[in-house]
Symmetry: C2
Subunit: 227 residues, 2 copies
Amino acid sequence: MLTQSAVTQSFHLHRHPSFPPSRKPVAPDSLHSAGVSMSFGRNAEIYAEGEASGYVYKVVSGVVRVSNLLPDGRRQISAFHMPGDMFGFESDEVHHASAEAVVPTKVIAYKWQGLLSAGPQSNGVVRELLRLTMIGLRQSREHLLLLGRKNALERLAAFLLDMTGRSDSKVVLDLAMPRHDIADYLGLTLETVSRMFAELKDLGTIKLESARRVHLLDPAKLKSMSA
Amino acid sequence: MLTQSAVTQSFHLHRHPSFPPSRKPVAPDSLHSAGVSMSFGRNAEIYAEGEASGYVYKVVSGVVRVSNLLPDGRRQISAFHMPGDMFGFESDEVHHASAEAVVPTKVIAYKWQGLLSAGPQSNGVVRELLRLTMIGLRQSREHLLLLGRKNALERLAAFLLDMTGRSDSKVVLDLAMPRHDIADYLGLTLETVSRMFAELKDLGTIKLESARRVHLLDPAKLKSMSA
DNA sequence: CGGGATATTGACTCTTATCAATGCCCGTGG
DNA sequence: CCACGGGCATTGATAAGAGTCAATATCCCG
């Protein structure tokens, strides 16, 4: 179970939450909000819902999932973040979602206050943060449309296209996350996701080299069925 | 906190009686991005998806719905905006959703560029806009959880509590929108919404004085069933 | 190689959608 | 003031899509 003894460097963490890791990026004392690099193993928690916020993060490598839970454990993943993405913004002092590494992941943590009070440059920074947040809001709205109004096949088609759009190759797709995560992102069960993969395969729009490696045989057709 | 005051000040500068709702806010005197007052009748379009953006809006009175459509007409309402709320933020030059008045509504339109370049105050304005956008993002995430993981009864219970939280009375709720809008907000059909109203009534948590006027008989119970 | 986690597939159930009929308001005009 | 009409809402019967439960199958990873 404790298979991956973690990779990492100074801020490395093991994956199991039972070992209360000091996930707070205790900066080696960064002037001017220089970022602090952190590494997380598969499924390691980056921050939890309810925890104090105060940092924003940028993905360097790996994939991060941001999710919310209902009291009975039902989970909704609101976003997957890829290298280059920033996440962890909060309007107040508490995280309203949790973030975990889907695969071994490196991020840089920036102190929120540092970004806001970084002298003259801070205005540009704030505007950039505003832009990023507005983009996130637009993406969330799009996701609302998917969750509220699309059927299972349309959801998976849209997901594959979205992931493809964020990867290098436009033909072969390497999914970092298991079926369960895809299901929780799409508001489905993992069985339904699996069945929809099978159906897309039957329809000739994809080929499954393995569960995680998908070939897009007909992106145009996929797009037409995503809405 | 300087952010709050700067924005408030700028947003509340003189309102013009620009009656004929030619949907474009042709600012009479565009100095310092003073807002332009506009009125819309029931179901009137404030802006449409795909239309050029450039203004943000603040609700003065009435209710606004923001929605997205699929090509075949399926609709998802992402938010209802009440007096005091701002909406219409876009990260680029195009609206990615449409906004309509649910009931006769007055808004004030502010030029986006004006807000960003309003001299020394603009930094506070931008920070306030960032804060508002982050709040919107958090609410969207919460809505994702509702759409992805809650059942019909939970959705309606959560909706009623949410609307109550935004109204004056905590006991009597006047819904501005018809069942169809509630359905498109909750990712359901209007029939299912109607049935869930009936079920909440049977459970003794609400009383329906009329379709639009709801008495919350047991908010605590309602809350317990909203998740 | 072997074993646990992950994924697929099948049989069946259940929630919500769909289709359809009826009822209820409310505003308008006779 | 009442009757009419149209939009809105409720209710019912049935269907369809996704969920649940359960039995393999496959893939990594050690």
